[in-house]
Structure formats: structure tokens, C-alpha cells
Subunit: 350 residues, 2 copies
């Protein structure tokens, strides 16, 4: 058992003490603290003074014991290690989320389950109602969390379109449109053998970006060609391995669209090693427009996603769900933008 050392720490003032000092009842102090309008000016004033004099801060535990609200929301990032290290996506998303929170006095609790055991613990924790709402990020198809949470009746919002699971609010970027614009750009630049390195097939970001690639080809009258499609795991190593597979099967490739910048970086390294010049021999386009793109040589053309805004929207939707008695489930899709750089310079100059 842990040693109870709480006694040694200074205990802050209680409502009771403030009430005594101000010469009113606990109920009145509570009203003032919580901004109730039903308090006369003079009483409010003396209460405020007492609060300041004692440095009173409400005890959250006591408050949430009766209100059944914790005043905090959880962000759950379910990522089997690896990406969390290298992908700038997460810090940016967190920033957006935390920015959206600033107006409300809500605390952000970050949970990063990795093992199935972690996920189980996390599910229990969440289902126990220890947070008022949940943001789920980086979901894979088979994640049990959305189901568990939905059953427990806790409001939640997902980042990225869920492939399956219960109906719920989510925020996503226009993955399909983004990759479409990337591929259209490559075709417009005179490229004819355009391959793709897709994302994981169990994530909507992977599925949708592949769909956009196929659509752009179809619009240009190009049939689907399995020898030009392969998948990675969004990491640099995964991108390199994918590029090797593509090159082995289709040496005539003259453009590659990778579903993440890191995969594009891996692909470029492999192309370089294989003696292919970028962009002269093979054009490359990435996805994310992460900071890494400017360190690459040549600099990488990439699909920019409004990641901070995505986080911000997620928070907004969740707060809406927290406030409204009627939980409205709705998707929010954010637009992407192709940022052209040297890695995909066209063959024929316009």
C-alpha cells in the first residue's frame, strides 16, 4: 500500500471556511463561485473577498462526486508505437485539440494505449466514466474502443472516418480529393505510369487515398492496374520497401504518389539508390505536407492537410455533444491543398 503522505501537504481552504469568513452559508458561497445570478451584490462582494483572502480553490473531486462530471476529456491515440515517434501528425493534432479547449475549463487527458492489455485498461478507465468525453485518434479497423465507449454511453468524436463500428461524429480531411488532386497533377505534368504507395488497408486514410488515386486515373481513362498499387504503413521504412516492390514489378514507372511524406521520403531514397533521378525520371508526391518535406532533396510536392484545424473541429464537436442533450452524429470533412515543389516538376514545360 502506498504511504499516505497527503497529510504533510497544506490543505487548501474549503467552502465551509469561506462561508464562515463571509458570514453566509455554504450554499451562497457555492452560488457565487459558480456564477449563479441569484445572489445580491453586497453578499457576492463579501464572498468574493473571502475567497480571495483564503485563496480558495474548489475541490474538483468533491464537485464531480455530486455533479457526475469530471471536467476533463480524454484523447486516445491508438498507435502501435513506431509512428508516434516519427510522425509530426500527432503533436500538431494535439495542438489543435488543446487550442479548441481553451475557452472551456476542461482538462485534456492523453491516453496512449499500445498493447492490447493497455487498450483493455484504457477501455475500462473510459467506460467507468472518468472523463466527460473522448476523442479517438488514429483508429484502425479492428479497434474495440469505439464499441466499448458507445455502449457505455460516453460522448466521443473520432479523428478520421471510421471504417466500421458504431455511428458517431468524426472529423476527417478530404483524403479522396487530396490524393485525386495529387494524381491529376502528376498526369497533367505528362506522367503516364503513375504508381501509388497507399496507407494501411485497415485505416480509412489508407482506403480513401487509394480510392482518390483510382478515381483520378479513371477520369483520365486509365484502367486500374494492380501492378502500380502497393501499400505501406505510413513509415519511411515501409515506403522504401514499397518502392522496391513497385520498381521490381514495373521498371517503367515515371511517377509515384505516396500516401504520406515519410513514405515518400523512403521511396525517394530507394529511387536514388536505383539511379533514378527525381523528378526527371520519376516524379514523387507525398501526403501531409509535414516539415520533413523541405529537408528532402529535391523538395517534396505534398498534399497539405489542416491538421490543427482537424483537432480544433474535433474538440468543437465534442463540446457540442457534451452540452447538447441530444447527441447529433455528424461528419466534418476538411479540404486539402496540393503544395507543388521540385519533386514533381512537369516533363513538358507549360
Amino acid at each position: 500500500m502506498a504511504v499516505p503522505n497527503s497529510q504533510s501537504r497544506p490543505r487548501s481552504a474549503t467552502l465551509e471556511e469561506v462561508a464562515r469568513l463571509a458570514g453566509v452559508s455554504r450554499a451562497t458561497v457555492s452560488r457565487v463561485v459558480n456564477g449563479s445570478p441569484r445572489v445580491s451584490g453586497s453578499v457576492r462582494h463579501s464572498v468574493v473577498n473571502a475567497v480571495e483572502e483564503l485563496g480558495y480553490v474548489p475541490n474538483r473531486a468533491a464537485r464531480s462526486l455530486v455533479t457526475r462530471r469530471s471536467g476533463s476529456i480524454a484523447v486516445v491515440i491508438t498507435e502501435p508505437s513506431g509512428r508516434l515517434f516519427s510522425d509530426p501528425f500527432f503533436p500538431r493534432l494535439l495542438r489543435g485539440i488543446s487550442g479548441g479547449l481553451s475557452a472551456r475549463d476542461l482538462q485534456l487527458v492523453l491516453l496512449m494505449p499500445e498493447s492490447p492489455a493497455d487498450t483493455e485498461r484504457t477501455a475500462t478507465y473510459l467506460a467507468a466514466g472518468h472523463v466527460d468525453g473522448i476523442l479517438l485518434v488514429s483508429l484502425h479497423g479492428d479497434d474495440p474502443l469505439p464499441g466499448r465507449i458507445a455502449r457505455a454511453g460516453i460522448p466521443f468524436v473520432m479523428g478520421g472516418r471510421p471504417l466500421r463500428g458504431p455511428a458517431a461524429s468524426f472529423v476527417d480531411v478530404d483524403n479522396r480529393g487530396g490524393s485525386r488532386s495529387a494524381v491529376e497533377h502528376l498526369l497533367a505534368g505528362g506522367r503516364r505510369v503513375v504508381a501509388t504507395i497507399g496507407g494501411p488497408a485497415d485505416m480509412s486514410a489508407g482506403v480513401d487515398r487509394l480510392a482518390g488515386y483510382r478515381e483520378a486515373r479513371a477520369d483520365a481513362g486509365l484502367p486500374m492496374d494492380p501492378s502500380l498499387e502497393t501499400a505501406g504503413d505510413f513509415t519511411q521504412d515501409g515506403g522504401a520497401a514499397a518502392m522496391e516492390r513497385l520498381l521490381a514489378g514495373r521498371p517503367d514507372i515515371d511517377a509515384v504518389f505516396a500516401a504520406s511524406d515519410l513514405m515518400a521520403a523512403g521511396a525517394m531514397a530507394v529511387l536514388e539508390a536505383a539511379g533514378r533521378r527525381v523528378p526527371q525520371d520519376v516524379a514523387v508526391v507525398g501526403y501531409d505536407d509535414s516539415p520533413v518535406v523541405t529537408t528532402l532533396r529535391p523538395q517534396l510536392t505534398s498534399v497539405r492537410q489542416p491538421i490543427e484545424e482537424m483537432g480544433h473541429e474535433m474538440t468543437r464537436l465534442l463540446i457540442e455533444a457534451l452540452d447538447g442533450a441530444h447527441p447529433v452524429q455528424r461528419p466534418v470533412i476538411l479540404a486539402t491543398e496540393l503544395v507543388r515543389r521540385a519533386s514533381s516538376a512537369g516533363r513538358r514545360m507549360p
Copy 2:
């Protein structure tokens, strides 16, 4: 006022209900749930059954109301935006911290104050005792948080040696030794005009890495030379600007040690633009050994820091402080390792 929608959600079972089902008192259920040894086998068994049948999960608010412990610890990252986006340091550190937590049933609360107003809110929140302990990361010299927290008597551990402020436990890497080894490596490779791009002067990581650079020079009989020293802010842009300053003042530079990989990347871009070849004309060494180093051409020699381990150690120290009645203040310094890559290949072959 917020709409109270808590009523609509299913309420989980209480101790009372479990006790009734198991035919014992609340106190006994509490003992079982908290693993007290003073319960007979048969009673324990029937309580466990009742707990499972009802899906009982203790209410944290009620528990911490009486125990005066919240069961959570905060990680406070005080970073004026910018770096949080691009620097892989933070996700890695968080991973280490959260890994160190897994044994204990502690929740991680992440706080990222950016503005002074945020910092104020955060200080109030923390001082109110809403968390049992605090991890402070990325502290700048003038941060008011350590003082506030120390005064409130809440256990905390800092990441990185504090430049000033109250005595406290901290975990740091051997910044001085790390940069020493980097500069020694450059000198051993036949470089003679070795410059440095240091970190911010208000952070110990900046101060200590500069000290290591000077020490290595002194050991080699080279005097301190202000024209070879400049400082950046750990970002890529900052590194680029610093490199430009250096090059303008000392065109004869043949090596640069940058106090972060991102600054090294910025420096390399400037060198390239200036027509200097890396490593033939100018050798470059970075610090962090972050994933970005392998995307650079040539690949970047860098000082590897055990960042995950640092997070892990911070958690360990904090838990120690939480458990022990006597808060021992002590520093932990972790070793670094120079990882040699192409960007600093020696001039004379050994």
C-alpha cells in the same frame, strides 16, 4: 450554465450495491477492491464475484475526495509553439514517461500552456492539488512554474537541468559530454575551424552544449573564439539563419556542430546554397539523432540521446517522491552516444 445531461447516462454500480449482492458490508468490499490482506478467502471470493457480475468500477471522484489523491500526474510542456510541431523530441519523451507509468494505476494529464495566460491557468490548476505529482519539461530560465509548484508543496521532477529556481529532482542527458564528443570527433577528423550553433541561452541544454564545445576546443589547445559561436532556437529556420551569420563572419569554417538535428538540417541547406560541399568542405554534426537525420543528404552524424529513457527516469523519480514521505532531491544524468554518418567523414583517412 451547462446543461446537466449526466442523468441520461447509465450510472455504474456502487460499493453499496456490490456489498448487498455479496452479503457483506461496504467496508469489506472496499478492502477487497483495494487488495487488503485482512479478508478471508471465502468472503473475498464472493465479493470478487459480485464485482464482476455488476461490472463495478470504483468512482474516482469519491475515492480521491477522501484519500486526497487524484491518481493522476501532469506533464507540463512549456514550449512557445513552434518546436512542438516539428521536434520529434516530445512524442518520444511522452512515450518514455507513459511507459514508466504502466505499472501504477496513474493517469497521465498532459498540459501544454503556451501563452502567459495559459501558464497562469496551469499554475492555478496545479497548485490546487488536482494532480499528485508533476513532470516539467522544456523549461526556460524564467518559467514561474517550478517556484509556484514548489511553494504549493506538490512533488515534481524536471526534464533537463534547471538553470535556476528551487532545488528539485531532475533528469538530464549528459549535454556537455555529448557535445564534447561531437567536437572531438570533428577535430580528430582533421577539421580546424570548428564552429557551433548553440541552443537558447535560457535553457540548460543550450548552455551545457556550448560548454562542451568550448571544453573540447580547450583540450585541443584552441582558444575560445566568439566569431565561431552563435545561437539558434533549436528549429530548422533558426539553424539556417545561424549558419548564414557564421558564414558571413568566418568564410573559412570547415566544420559545424549544431545543438539540434533540425538546426543542422537548416545549416546544411544554407551550406548547399552557398556552394559548400558536405562533408568535403564543411563537416556537420547534429544533436538528438532524430529520425530526420537519415532523410538528409548526406546523412547526418548526430549525438544520440536516450529520450525515452529520460522520460522513464522522470516518471520513476516522481513515483519515488510520491511514495516516500521524505522527498529526496536528486539529479539523474544519462549518457549520450555519437552516431557517425556521412556528414562528418574525416578529411584524412585514418
